[in-house]
Symmetry: C2
Subunit: 187 residues, 2 copies
Amino acid sequence: MPRISSFFSASLDGFFADEKDDVSWTHDSSGDPEWSAFVSGNASGDGQLLMGRKTYEMMRSYWPTPAAKAAMPVVAEGMNRMPKHVASRTLTEATWNNTHLISGDLLAAVRRLKAAPGPDIATLGSGSIVSQLAQAGLVDEFQVVTIPILLGNGRHMFGDIPAPLRLRTVRSRAFTNGHVVTWYAPA
Amino acid sequence: MPRISSFFSASLDGFFADEKDDVSWTHDSSGDPEWSAFVSGNASGDGQLLMGRKTYEMMRSYWPTPAAKAAMPVVAEGMNRMPKHVASRTLTEATWNNTHLISGDLLAAVRRLKAAPGPDIATLGSGSIVSQLAQAGLVDEFQVVTIPILLGNGRHMFGDIPAPLRLRTVRSRAFTNGHVVTWYAPA
């Protein structure tokens, strides 16, 4: 049965987007080959993606483009090919290749996905979705990329969590480009 | 000449205190001996402390007490002995042992401290103070302890920074108790 992993990037002071919803500061411009291999390895697996509408629209506007295919061919191929699930009460159709729309009860839909045979599921960003899944105990792993920048203000991933949630640190790895990746599991 | 290091603990989602100013979730209750040795090593050195009024009042109400001396004798001895500087426009005296009050221009006072011979200076918490010092290029190192908990909401360290500030990751270390310590320097 599929496990759910939540992937997100955040500034050192805990924001996943700045006050203007900009996430360009999360991108690696160093050309660190170790980091590139890590990102490609994450995206080239045989998985499924789960995301909210905002993340979906941001991804859909980028990954199918020639620019994305030129810049990160392995990641773009994986993103476009993998089964994708977008949770939204406002979308009426999902046109990106191999995307399924979840318009009803999120937790029920995700419990069905986890109960059926299939590859592991990754959530990308999508704070509101991940907050609901984490509180319901449906997230098996969190993978946090900490970017060495202080933003001061911006948007939080977990503002919708109704009560603090303790996690267990699994491991941590610092890359040459300064990104620190830490894996957490439910406590 | 003294270097300035900024030490702070934060939740995985970037808060140094919860919405009620509670920081009890930052305390280690696991008895991890490696972590205890690390904290004692940090506090037992021959340094100076710099903090804002809130951090000062919280520290002063704890470290001189018999409870603190019983729970963490090495840290308590160091905290009470070391030279301390508290920046405040409202305090008229600082009664904790070996404390100096900075009531005028913070940056000028800190530049004087850095220009004089003396042991290295550590700031503890004190987001407003550290934001001002970081923006002025006066912080030589940041040491961030990430606690594996999602709070959802709370107080930020760097809300007073006027513009994003890039840092350089120096190293990262995960402890058995789940705390991850990452060191940063100016970019």
